[in-house]
Symmetry: C2
Subunit: 415 residues, 2 copies
C-alpha cells in the first residue's frame, strides 16, 4: 500500500505583535522559509490596529516625506517598512511576515496559532476567534504565566485550549525579546504533547476523526479538569511531531528543546517571578552572591515541589532543574529582570514594593507581586503554606509581616 | 540489654588556616560549642607557621606596643588575638579555635579531620600525617577540585582517603569564604557516605573491627579503583551519622544539605570553573543574559553527563541540578568569580587568557584553564570530546582553535 504523502502545508499565524510577538514572527518566518515542505512561506501576524507616527529617531523617519509626522496604521507601516517601528524598532522583519489587523482573517485556515498576547487579552481574543478557525488547528502559548486563585490553577495554554477547543502547548525560556531580535544566542523550551491521533488515516469528509482527551491531567488543583474532544489533523498535512514543531522555532541563535510537560513549562514562567523577588530582597541586603544563589536554588526546588503537589501526573522535575524554562529563566530573571531590580531597590531605599511600583513603574504592578499573592491565596486554601517556605516568606515580606533578614531562618530545614 | 551509651566525644581538627580554612574553623568551633555531647569544645587548627607582622590597618595594630612592626609567629598571633590577621582579618574567632603549628600534634587523637588546604599541599601533608592519626578517623575535604589527567580522574577526597587509609567525604557549595566569615547567609553540600559499620559493637581491644570497602565505586576512569580496609569507629563515640556530621557544619547562616554522592560533589566544584570560563566568553561578546544563562544550563547538563559517564555507580543527577555544590555554585561562579571575570576580560580586550593571567594575576594560572586542559586531555584519551561540546569548545577557545562566537553552533544539538 502506498503511503499517502502530505501535500498540504501548515499555515502559521502569530496572534500578537508587541515586542515579543514581533520577535516571534521574525524567527518563525525565517523558519517557514527554511522548511518549505512543511510550512507555507507567509506568516500572518495579527496586529491590534493603532495609528502610529514614525518616531523621529527611526531610520525610516524622512522629514521631507509628506507622511512624516502623520499617524499611519501600524499594520500598513509594518507591511511597507518590514519593521514594527513602535514595538520592535530597528529590526528588519523578513518580507514573509504579513501584518493583518483582522484577527479572523489572520487566523483563517491556519493550522498553527502562536499566541503572544498580554495575559489579560487572551480571553477576549479567543472569544473573537471562536468558530472562525479550523477545528484541527494547534496552538502554542508564548505568554508566560498561569491563572492562580484560591480556587485553583489554570495554565494559560489550557485557557486557550478550552476556549477554542483545540490543543495548546507552551513555549517558555530565558528569553529577553530584545536580545533574541538581535539574534544574540539564547535557548527556549517548547512543551507540546497532544494526545495520540493517527494522522495517517485521512479524515473522512463530514465526519472528522476526533479523540477524547484531557487537555491537562486532573490535579489536586483542578479536580474538575475536563475532557475535550479534539479533532485530529487531516493526514494530508505533515504531522506536527516534536521534530516538525521544533523546526518552526529553532534557529542557529535560538536553540529549542522539546518536552512534553506543558504544566512544568507554564509553571516555570510564572513561579520564577516570585524567586526573582526573593533574590532581589537578599541582594538588597548586601548579602552577596552566595546568598543570592542559595535563594535561587531553594526557589527552583519549591517550583519542583509545587509542580509535584498540584500536577503530579504530568510534571517532571527535570523541566525545572534542566530546561531553559526552569533553571535558566530563573538565572536570567535573578540577574537583572524587573522583579529582581524593583525588589532590590525596595530594600535599599527602605520602602515598600508598592512605592517602588508607583515611583518606577507608574503604578503598574509587577508580575512577581501578583503571582506571589495569587500563589499564597491558593496555598492557604490548600493548607500548604508551610510546605513552600520561600514562596510564603516572599508573600509575608510583601505584606510587611516578616523582614527579608528572616529569609534564612524561615527557609531553614530543621531536620 | 542496655544500650551502651557513647561516652567519648569527637575531637575535630581543621587541617589548614588560609581564608577558607580559618572560616571553617570559626563555624566548626561555634558548632562544637553548640553540641557538647558530640564534640570536644576545642577545635585544633593546623597553621603552616610563618612570621607575620600585624598590618598597620589592623584593629590590633598598636604603634605604642613594642611588638608593633615586629614579625611574630602566626599561630601565636591567632591564639593571642583570636584573629587570623593575615588570612581572615577583622573576623573574631571563637576562643575554642586553637592554632597549632604542629600537624602531628594538631591531629593527634582527632576522629574528624577537615582538610582545607590548597590542592598542591594535600599529598605532602598527608605524608606527614601518615601513622600519626587514629586509624578510625574520618576526613572531609573542603578543597574543591579533582585530579584529572589522561590516565583518569581521582577525587581529592579519594587521594586523602587512600594516603591515610581512612574514609574521606567532601564539602562544596556556593561558598565565597569572606561572605561566610561575615555570617552572610549561604548554603553548602556535604557528601558523606562511609561504608556500613555497626558502631554499636564495641571494638575488641587489640583487634579493631574493620571492613573492606571501595573508597569510590569503580568507574571507567578508575578501572583499578582499589579497596581499602577501613577501621570502624569504636562504639564509645557518637556515631558519625548524616545528622551528626550536619551538626558540625550547619549554622543559622550556613545551611547544610547532606548527600551521599562524594563524586558528584567533588566534580561539581571542579567542572564549574570550565562553565565559568564559557559564561565569561559569552558575556565578553556582549550577548546578554539569555546567552549566559543558556551556557550555564548546558554546562550543568555536561556536568551531569560527565558524572554519569565516569562515575555511573555513584553519581546522582540531582547533585548537580538541585544541590548547592552544583547549580548554585555554577551561578555564583558565573556571576562574578575569577574565572568568569578573566574570561570576560580576555574577550573584551581581545587578548588571550594567558595574557590576562600575566597582567591580572601575576602569572598565576586560573583554576578553570587548568581544569579545562586536564578534562580535555582525559576526554581525548577516552575518544569522547564530541560528547562534551561545551567543555571541548572552551578548551579549543583557550587553544585559539575556535572563536567564542562559534559556541552556539558548537553546542547545537542537531536532532
Amino acid at each position: 500500500m502506498a503511503t499517502l504523502a502530505a501535500h498540504k502545508k501548515h499555515k502559521v499565524t502569530i496572534v500578537g505583535s508587541g515586542n515579543w510577538g514581533t520577535t516571534m514572527a521574525k524567527l518563525v518566518a525565517e523558519n517557514t522559509k527554511a522548511h518549505p515542505t512543511l510550512y507555507e512561506l507567509n506568516v500572518q501576524m495579527w496586529v491590534f490596529e493603532e495609528e502610529v507616527t514614525i518616531p523621529k529617531n527611526s531610520r525610516h523617519y524622512d522629514p521631507g516625506s509628506e507622511l512624516a509626522n502623520k499617524p499611519q496604521k501600524l499594520s500598513e507601516l509594518i507591511n511597507n517598512l518590514h519593521e514594527n517601528v513602535k514595538y520592535l524598532p530597528n529590526i528588519t522583519l523578513p518580507p514573509n511576515v504579513i501584518a493583518n489587523p483582522s484577527i479572523v482573517d489572520a487566523c483563517k485556515d491556519s493550522t498553527i496559532l502562536i499566541f503572544v498576547l498580554p495575559h489579560q487579552f487572551i480571553a477576549r481574543v479567543c472569544d473573537q476567534l471562536k468558530g472562525h478557525i479550523v477545528p484541527y488547528a494547534r496552538a502554542i502559548s508564548c505568554t508566560k504565566g498561569v491563572d492562580v486563585s484560591e480556587k485553583g490553577i489554570r495554565l494559560l495554554s489550557e485557557s486557550i485550549g478550552v476556549r477554542l477547543n483545540i490543543y495548546c502547548g507552551a513555549l517558555s525560556g530565558a528569553n529577553i525579546a530584545s536580545e533574541i531580535a538581535l539574534e544574540k544566542y539564547s535557548e527556549t523550551t517548547v512543551a507540546y504533547d497532544p494526545p495520540p491521533m493517527d494522522s495517517r488515516n485521512p479524515t473522512p469528509k463530514g465526519s472528522p476523526t476526533s479523540s477524547t482527551v484531557d487537555l491537562i491531567s486532573p490535579s489536586k488543583a483542578n479536580p474538575s479538569a475536563r475532557s475535550a474532544r479534539l479533532q485530529a489533523l487531516p493526514s494530508d498535512y505533515p504531522p506536527l511531531s516534536h521534530e516538525n514543531v521544533r523546526k518552526l522555532f529553532h534557529r542557529p541563535y535560538f536553540h529549542v528543546r522539546m518536552v512534553s510537560d506543558v504544566a512544568g513549562v507554564s509553571l516555570g514562567g510564572a513561579l520564577k517571578n516570585i524567586i526573582a523577588l526573593a533574590a532581589g530582597f537578599v541582594d538588597g541586603l548586601g548579602w552577596g552572591d552566595n546568598a543570592k544563589a542559595a535563594v535561587m536554588r531553594v526557589g527552583i526546588l519549591e517550583m519542583v515541589a509545587f509542580g509535584k503537589a498540584f500536577f503530579a501526573d504530568s510534571v517532571h522535575t527535570s523541566t525545572f532543574t534542566e530546561e531553559s524554562c526552569g533553571v535558566a529563566d530563573v538565572v536570567t530573571s535573578c540577574m537583572g529582570g524587573r522583579n529582581f531590580r524593583c525588589a532590590k531597590m525596595s530594600i535599599e531605599r527602605g520602602v515598600s514594593i508598592d512605592e517602588i511600583e508607583q515611583s518606577e513603574l507608574n503604578g503598574q504592578k509587577l508580575q512577581g507581586t501578583s503571582t506571589a499573592y495569587e500563589v499564597n491565596s491558593f496555598l492557604k486554601s490548600q493548607g500548604m503554606e508551610d510546605d513552600f517556605p520561600l514562596f510564603t516568606a516572599v508573600y509575608n515580606i510583601l505584606e510587611g509581616k516578616v523582614k527579608p533578614e528572616q529569609i534564612p531562618d524561615l527557609i531553614e530545614r530543621k531536620d
